[in-house]
Symmetry: C2
């Protein structure tokens, strides 16, 4: 058992208790006790106590939609329309991926997450054995989704069967991992067909993986789906029977009340990506309507290529601001609502009800923001300061599954010096066209 004490503890438990001068006891990867510091210390005499002083401990943030291996492409191109960006800048480079670079690029993403308080993620990319290996090494928690489209050959396989066999092999190799789980991730309705979607669903059920896809990202996607499939994206997918309680749907910008009723009925989680939706001028997900419909709602960065960061505090702040602007209501999407999305909402998206909160029995996944920085003083309201003022780099400690991954400038699971040296190789690779 180990006890962490801090001036503030934002539990995100069922009552959303925010405690001053509080402590957290952890044991075997789980939280065993939470409360006022004096009480927790008195209940566990002799336990090791780690005093984080003027810090705020929070449950680790969950980046519920990202593309982990894309750090290499950060800033490779910006300020372009989506299809020009993909066709001119992203796809040509992705055709040249080498596994060693995918590994380095993924580790760089995990370093960024660990540095800024993100402890778990839902990832979607190709050749995901690289992300499994990198996430295992980095010590983070996550769902690792293999991207599937209807066109072959694709990076993950020459044929659908080859790709699916790769997924089966990854499922076998990583079965029972304490922190990592796979997912089958058909890319979107516009890059698949009913046969592909049904095959993906069947494969997910076969190997026991979760399921997720980009959904309703733009009004064009809706219009094209109506024209080609005779229904909006969500009813179309629902008619195929692929939407279940294991499903996360990324973006959900252009969703109407009937769409939301389906998500609620099927138990799907929606994931809001405010920075990416703004940068690509896709629009704004109707956050208050999604929440009012009772659909679990998380936040994602959409990864380092389009975001261009994987900084969930920045994204949480933006979710609050965009929610107010888009609804025309400054009382909408409060700091507390946004923080709920980034923690408990993320736990719903990754399917781990023990994550995203700090309470007896929850995951020992947390981080600690140093409040001794001018941007976080005074502490009139610690949740407000975390959501509206923190940058992410105030974080001084990241713990996942009870293990310290970052502390006061040092990465404890990753060799940061070696990674930084390899980042130059990523730049050289990205610089080739």
């Amino acid at each position: 058992m180990k006890i962490y004490r801090a001036d503030w503890l934002v539990t995100q438990d069922d009552s959303r208790a925010v405690l001053e001068d509080a402590a957290l006891a952890i044991e075997g990867g789980l939280v065993s006790d939470v409360g006022p510091a004096a009480d927790v210390l008195a209940r566990h005499p002799g336990a090791e106590v780690d005093d984080l002083g003027a810090s705020a401990i929070l449950p680790g943030l969950i980046d519920a939609h990202t593309h982990v291996p894309m750090s290499a492409l950060r800033g490779a191109a910006d300020d372009k329309a989506l299809f020009a960006w993909l066709g001119e800048d992203i796809f040509p480079r992705e055709a040249r991926w080498e596994p060693a670079l995918l590994r380095v690029s993924s580790l760089l993403s995990f370093a960024e997450m660990i540095r800024t308080g993100t402890t778990a993620f839902w990832d979607m990319y190709m050749l995901q054995e690289n992300v499994f290996a990198a996430a295992d090494e980095a010590g983070v928690r996550g769902v690792i989704g293999e991207n599937v489209v209807r066109f072959f050959p694709q990076l993950g396989g020459a044929t659908r069967e080859a790709l699916f066999d790769r997924i089966r092999a990854n499922a076998e190799a990583w079965r029972g991992h304490p922190r990592l789980r796979g997912a089958v991730a058909p890319h979107a309705v516009y890059t698949t067909d009913p046969d592909t979607l049904l095959a993906c669903r069947a494969l997910a059920d076969e190997v026991g993986w979760r399921f997720g896809m980009h959904m309703s990202e733009t009004r064009k996607e809706t219009a094209d789906c109506l024209a080609e499939r005779g229904a909006r994206p969500i009813p179309y997918c629902d008619s195929l029977g692929i939407l279940r309680a294991d499903t996360a749907l990324f973006h959900c910008v252009d969703v109407d009340d009937a769409d939301l009723a389906i998500l609620r009925e099927r138990g799907c989680a929606a994931v809001h990506n405010p920075a990416s939706n703004m940068k690509l001028a896709s629009g704004a997900a109707p956050v208050p309507r999604i929440l009012a419909a009772g659909v679990p709602l998380a936040i994602g960065t959409d990864g380092p290529a389009s975001n261009n960061a994987q900084n969930m505090l920045r994204e949480t702040w933006l979710a609050a601001l965009l929610g107010k602007l888009a609804s025309g209501d400054p009382t909408a999407v409060s700091a507390r609502t946004a923080l709920d999305m980034a923690t408990r909402g993320g736990a719903a998206a990754i399917g781990d009800p023990l994550a995203g909160r700090l309470a007896p029995g929850s995951r020992a996944d947390f981080f600690a923001l140093d409040l001794c920085t001018p941007g976080l003083q005074p502490v009139n309201d610690v949740v407000s300061n975390v959501v509206y003022a923190a940058t992410g780099l105030e974080n001084r400690l990241t713990v996942v599954d009870g293990r310290e991954l970052y502390r006061d400038g040092r990465y404890l699971s990753l060799d940061w010096g070696a990674l930084l040296a390899e980042a130059e190789n990523l730049r050289r690779w990205a610089g080739q066209r």
Copy 2:
């Protein structure tokens, strides 16, 4: 003379040169030489060389609209409509200000600016002798505007003459300061009348101060001004003859083409405040239209009470994202355009054409971002990383007027330990209602 070398130098000069392996020579508060490191070093043999390694040097950011003394109110209330927030949370506390708290609160704001790369500001508040003293101590550059409304008594004086005499005394006390200049700042059209606005203009001309006011922040302001004054806010103010080349107008959310033609004609600068406008659901300034009209455009945070930070990198990122979303065009407001607003646009707003760029003869006002952080690797495009990925806390050096104010965790003009201890007094003060 001193030379600073870094792996990257974003000059923001007239050609927007971005140099790799570059150096900057400074002398007497000004930049004397800029160029490839080898060339600059060869031109100045024997000069002291400070190697910042894998950093990016940029001209200091300019927060062109803030309310410096309001740090004490950070997080005091959020998620409320503007008038409820002002009436219930802000005004009652402001009635209880004590000068000692105003000084501490202002120093805390300057510490946040210095920490995150902001070297200059345009401030608007009351009892501004406190901000003059704090800014003089902190070493930053700025325009310090005294707020005027038509109602008396107000915090700055029992009568208009008393307030104006205070302004005259401040103008006398700080005349000729190398970095600080005053401004007369009528609050807005809806809190003044023609007589107040004309008196403010005359006073600014009398004491040689600049001029600025909140302008066209909401559609309600426009509608009310049309009803009460028979014109939109900008034509109304222009009819009084108060808009000149020394004038900065804050917000400019609800501006039409005729408004912009007036600003262009008069040489006024507009200041965009994306976070505040989103948080209060005021709308989005039409950034591409303002720029196309040829109106100098800067960025401001609107200060720690409504923002809730004074972090110009965060604000610059948001200006790019909001510009794309609001115009429906992902190619609008590029990283370079946003950086121009935060540097050269800010220089126009504060009326200092030597600021906001690094070129021979410009101000030696700059900061240096440490690129050895996972969120800023790889460096495919240093400007993209600065605008789209940096948080502000990567900054390791802030220089104003050739003087180092912050370096690698240490504040060199401020006593951070003493300030942190006093922040608890701000919290106690803000906690009283």
